[in-house]
């Protein structure tokens, strides 16, 4: 079992590696195309800004590598948003794996603190990614932009507006929250991903 974490100009990559180590797995952090293609599992993490991250991925031709992957891929936070079609964050065209659109939280929906920082629920769970996880479990979120609800939604949550806490299409999975920082719930989700 070989897991890789895609290395790019986004924060929080170490945290994902340490979380995997806590559940007894190792991973390589790499931007090497061949190593990514040959991995059994690929994690695409990220904390950062969408357009800067997309430009970086394109400059390293990682954008094409990611969309062509056939093994299970897990996008986390910005990683998940970049797997969507489009992000309002600096009008960025993203990877287009998920059809859902990424928008900014708005005071129009009664949200007066942006980013959302803290523990919120995951609801309407429908994926093996959530095996052993109870409805309305708490996960740790830090984000100003959210993916809409859509046909690829496999978990929802609510912050002023209902949106996708997790997405799934074919071999691609994405979670808006940070499983690497979500205590036992997050560790179970990472274990489930590794077991896919």
């Amino acid at each position: 079992m070989k897991t890789v974490i895609i290395k790019y100009n986004a924060g929080n990559i170490q945290s994902v590696l340490y979380a995997l180590e806590r559940i007894g797995h190792t991973a390589d952090v790499t931007d090497d195309h061949e190593q990514i293609r040959q991995a059994d599992k690929v994690i695409f993490p990220g904390v950062g800004e969408a357009s800067t991250a997309m430009n970086y991925l394109k400059s390293r031709k990682l954008d094409q590598i990611i969309v062509d992957l056939k093994q299970p891929v897990l996008g986390i936070c910005l990683g998940m948003q970049l797997m969507c079609k489009y992000s309002e964050e600096n009008n960025t065209d993203c990877l287009g794996i998920f059809d859902e659109k990424v928008s900014r939280f708005s005071p129009v929906n009664g949200v007066n603190k942006i980013p959302q920082i803290g523990w919120n629920t995951i609801e309407h769970l429908k994926s093996p990614l959530f095996n052993g996880i109870k409805e309305s479990s708490y996960c740790y979120y830090v984000h100003s932009f959210y993916a809409s609800l859509g046909e690829h939604t496999i978990a929802t949550t609510h912050y002023g507006i209902g949106y996708s806490a997790a997405l799934h299409r074919n071999n691609f999975y994405g979670v808006q929250f940070h499983p690497e920082k979500s205590a036992e719930t997050g560790e179970q989700i990472l274990k489930n991903f590794i077991a896919l």
């Binding site: 170490q14 340490y18 980013p115 984000h143 912050y159 920082k181």
Partner: protein, 252 residues
């Protein structure tokens, strides 16, 4: 629903946790990683580590400690104390800190906030403010761990810092700190009610009711405390159960 956060704070000196009573009788309280693990298991929502040595020669000790914590702890944590450059922050984040907090250096050199927000994102930049209500009834900013008074009002500095890009404010009332008579509700409410970032209230926690008050009356997004957790006066599970019974959303 987004929950209110309970945040134990650990003071760190030379890589060890210290406990003090009113800044005196500081004594060793053991391994910060062990204590942090216990808090995380008990249901703490985040942790704050405040390095009270924070001299240049101790920086390496701190970054090594941060790395150990990042390996062990499965919840987010913030590191603060003596941070005054992009390089300081880089080292801490690289070693696995989720957020950093700045205080005196940011006040003296406000562009630091813009630089940090641009480089690392607002979500990992916490502004710590130590504030004191003077005889004129107004809340002023204090620096250097509360030793140096400024003429700047707490609210004005907080608003400027938000405009410059801080993602959260850790607000400590010096009037309340150490009293165990409750948080400073008025200044907390003033910030929480009008600034578009989360406010972490600190200083004065003595009872479970104090936490309920700061969430319900002052609209704080999170509450931080040290001694009541260290001295086991209030256990985190018991506190969260109480808050839940008061219809305050918490992670149980």
């Amino acid at each position: 629903m987004l929950t209110k956060r309970i945040i134990p704070c650990l003071d760190i000196k030379d890589g060890r946790t210290v406990k003090g009573v009113n800044f005196e009788q500081i004594r060793d309280a053991g391994d910060p990683v062990e204590l942090a693990s216990i808090y995380a298991k008990e249901g703490a929502d985040e942790l704050v580590f405040l390095d009270i040595t924070a001299t240049n020669e101790k920086r390496k000790t701190l970054s090594e400690l941060v790395n150990k914590i990042a390996h062990q702890i499965n919840i987010p944590f913030t590191v603060g104390g003596g941070i005054n450059s992009v390089e300081d922050v880089q080292v801490l984040l690289k070693n696995g800190a989720d957020k950093i907090s700045v205080n005196t250096a940011a006040f003296k050199k406000p562009d630091l906030i813009n630089e940090l927000a641009l480089e690392f994102g607002s979500q990992c930049v916490v502004l710590a403010i130590d504030t004191k209500q003077e005889a004129d009834g107004k809340w002023y900013v204090y620096l250097n761990g509360g030793k140096v008074k400024t003429d700047t009002l707490c609210f004005d500095w907080a608003r400027e810092a938000v405009d410059r890009g801080v993602g959260e404010i850790l607000l400590t009332s010096m009037n309340n700190d150490g009293t165990k008579k409750g948080f400073a509700l008025d200044i907390t409410k003033q910030l929480a009610g009008s600034l578009p970032v989360p406010i972490i209230a600190s200083g004065g926690a003595g009872s479970k009711e104090d936490f309920a008050d700061v969430f319900q009356q002052a609209q704080a997004d999170a509450a931080l405390a040290a001694s009541i957790f260290h001295f086991k006066e209030i256990a985190i599970p018991e506190l969260k159960k109480y808050l839940s019974e008061q219809q305050i959303p918490v992670r149980l």
